[in-house]
Symmetry: C2
Subunit: 422 residues, 2 copies
């Protein structure tokens, strides 16, 4: 491999050495017991938990009970007796602990896209009439490297609220924000490169201009400490099916800072966000708490599957998760450096720990080799994913990925690239 920090092919590529090191790292891993709480098979190295997390063992039995007893036997009574009605906030509080949000800040429900829409429109409305010279803040800034849906939804929010939208590289966002800026929408971790952005600094910089900031935590929630409350973040969204292992398409979450909840003017004021949802009043009076982010009837089966999936986090410290995440990605980069023929891939993931999420993306050369390389990797039991045109993406989930798997993945990648073109 050619890496930005090390252009030369590393001399030592003896698998024995790195395998031994992997074994030692696994033996010393403070989180090693967590792997047993997931359904995994030793034939496959699953490095796609940044797309869909593995199944926690607690989920099937819990979901069977939700379906068979709560729905099947109690039926309508479960809305109160089984706590269905309050599940969006209850599960939200559990997610909150993992992203540094105190109780009562988060609701779970809807997709990330829908939550981006609520957050961006609500943020624009918080800034109305508050810009320079009394003019409305009418600009939405969006991370130029954003996952596409955030950009599409932000553009729709701009169109509907009479704002203009401007895509800006994250590095330029602090300078770009100004008195016309209503809100900046930023991805905490870039979904392609795995670059981690500086949430505290960027939040402070955007706040200094009087604007709001919405963070998309899809690729950081459950992978590293976030500190939403501590850094005064206004609004945040994120999905729960990546590092939180909530299941395919599990409901997303929406964070609204406590003091902003009474000012959260939702563009999707469904009956669930009404201050008195069962009053069936003809006009909408917004709920003042985290319920302000709800819309329609919560999707109970998926929500309670997520609830069960969150059990694995009960005894987990995010600091330990972050430490292992960095150790895994460091080790993968070293192994790839050792095993992969020079010139075939180059890492686009930052070397600096402060700028790295929990994935590594390797740019393939030639670009056309990327898809075939990933297909062959999967055939050989190493599951990452391919993001066109030329990225090979590997996600590392500290709760279940072992260093032994990391060594095997890099070694297999080296073998595939050696076989394919040599």
């Amino acid at each position: 491999m050619s890496s930005p920090n090390c252009g030369r092919r590393e001399a030592v590529s003896d698998p024995g050495t790195l395998r031994g090191e992997a074994a030692a790292l696994d033996a010393a891993d403070a989180l090693r017991a967590k792997r047993a709480e997931f359904v995994l098979d030793d034939d496959t190295v699953y490095l796609d938990g940044n797309s869909l997390g593995a199944l926690p063992r607690a989920v099937p039995a819990r979901l069977a009970d939700v379906v068979g007893r709560e729905w099947g036997r109690l039926r309508i009574r479960s809305w109160s007796e089984s706590g269905w009605w309050t599940a969006p906030e209850r599960v939200g509080d559990r997610v909150g602990r993992l992203v540094g949000a105190g109780p009562g800040r988060i609701v779970v429900g809807d997709s990330t896209s829908v939550n981006v829409f609520k957050a961006v429109v609500a943020a624009v409305r918080m800034g109305e009439g508050a810009g320079a010279g009394g003019r409305a803040r009418d600009e939405i800034l969006v991370d130029a490297g954003t996952f596409p849906t955030d950009g599409y939804i932000a553009a729709s929010a701009a169109r509907l609220t009479g704002c203009r939208i401007r895509a800006v590289p994250v590095g330029d966002l602090a300078a770009a924000a100004g008195p016309r800026t209503a809100v900046a929408l930023v991805n905490h971790v870039d979904y392609r490169t795995g670059r981690l952005h500086d949430l505290p600094a960027l939040t402070a910089a955007v706040h200094a201009t009087g604007a709001r900031i919405v963070w998309d935590l899809c690729h950081s929630a459950g992978a590293l400490p976030v500190g939403l409350d501590a850094h005064g973040v206004d609004l945040a969204v994120g999905c729960t099916y990546k590092y939180l292992n909530g299941g395919p398409g599990a409901p997303a979450f929406l964070y609204v800072r406590r003091d902003l909840q009474p000012r959260f003017d939702s563009p999707l004021p469904g009956w669930n966000s009404h201050a008195d949802p069962f009053g069936m009043a003809p006009d909408h009076t917004p709920a003042g708490g985290p319920q302000c982010g709800r819309v329609g009837t919560p999707d109970i089966l998926s929500l309670l599957a997520l609830d069960a999936a969150l059990d694995v986090w009960e005894d987990v410290d995010l600091t330990a998760v972050r430490a292992k995440s960095l150790a895994l990605t460091d080790f993968f980069l070293r192994c790839a450096e050792a095993y992969v023929p020079a010139g075939r891939v180059v890492s686009v993931t930052p070397v600096a720990h402060a700028e790295r999420g929990s994935q590594v993306a390797l740019k393939a050369a030639p670009a056309e080799a990327a898809a075939g390389t990933m297909a062959e990797l999967v055939r050989r039991g190493v599951v990452g994913d391919h993001r066109p045109p030329d990225l090979l993406r590997f996600g590392f989930t500290p709760l279940y990925t072992t260093f032994g798997e990391v060594e095997r993945a890099a070694r297999t990648l080296g073998e595939v690239l050696g076989d394919v073109l040599t």
Copy 2:
């Protein structure tokens, strides 16, 4: 009971007669075999399927397979190999058969509220610049008796698109629609009274003014034939957890008439509604088919639970469902007339078949007795629900409700009202 068609107390209230009649009706019921496909207990008469449908027996095993094998073993591969990615349209087609929509008109996903938002905003955009004298159509009409969330969401759509909103009783809608009307949002069946509105006539009347119509089918889908394609309906939404038995908070559906799909300009253009969702392009190019109504990643567990729940419909003819539904509500009204002391309740559900959905709502006198009456009914094993201030609501699900249960429910209601105040 006092009913609009019959002010006098019926002379015959011999339970033996009505029980015998119930037994004969059950014996002749063409749908009687369907009940065995649901989890029900004979101790409870469940007349709340218009709020949450009972659990179809096929669901638990299917969901266990989706969780254990598709998610647990195949993981990310299931997006293609298990057909997850195309499930919103595939399940949509199955719902389509039940509401008179051909393949490729419906997607399943999001909540009803979110789908109302998409439909109303998209309808307004279809009419832009098309009103009288070249002026924009800038008025949204909404059924004055609507389920509240539809009104809240329509008001939000109006605010965001620069329209005004006007609530009009359904009976006046045809006259109220005019050259400024962009869209009318109407409930097919009133959630309180159970009144069925005339979909073909109202659709034609609104179309005659050049406006669009959005039908909310929450209380009709699975209860009676709808005929969306046949009547040229523009857009429709509905939930799947009432008569379609999809489970608590199961994803809702959105119908977009075939010729309108290329013009469906969604206010929630997520990556799933992109013409090339995996191209990750920075700009949104809308999908031309039913995918135009998708937003974010589909909620697979709930969606496939619904898919399994729809199996019960495979051999069911909606005409038979409608016939039994009317027979059930007719019989309930007769039994209530016979058993309930005069003056204690009056039906607010229309007597005419053409104006009746699949529920009966009884207005209690005095109003304060309603909550206690329903609580006591539930304690005695008859589950309906109470809608404040004074409505006792009973839903009849033709696939599993028996005439014997109807007789028991009315008899128990009579006993409760007799016990409570006599």
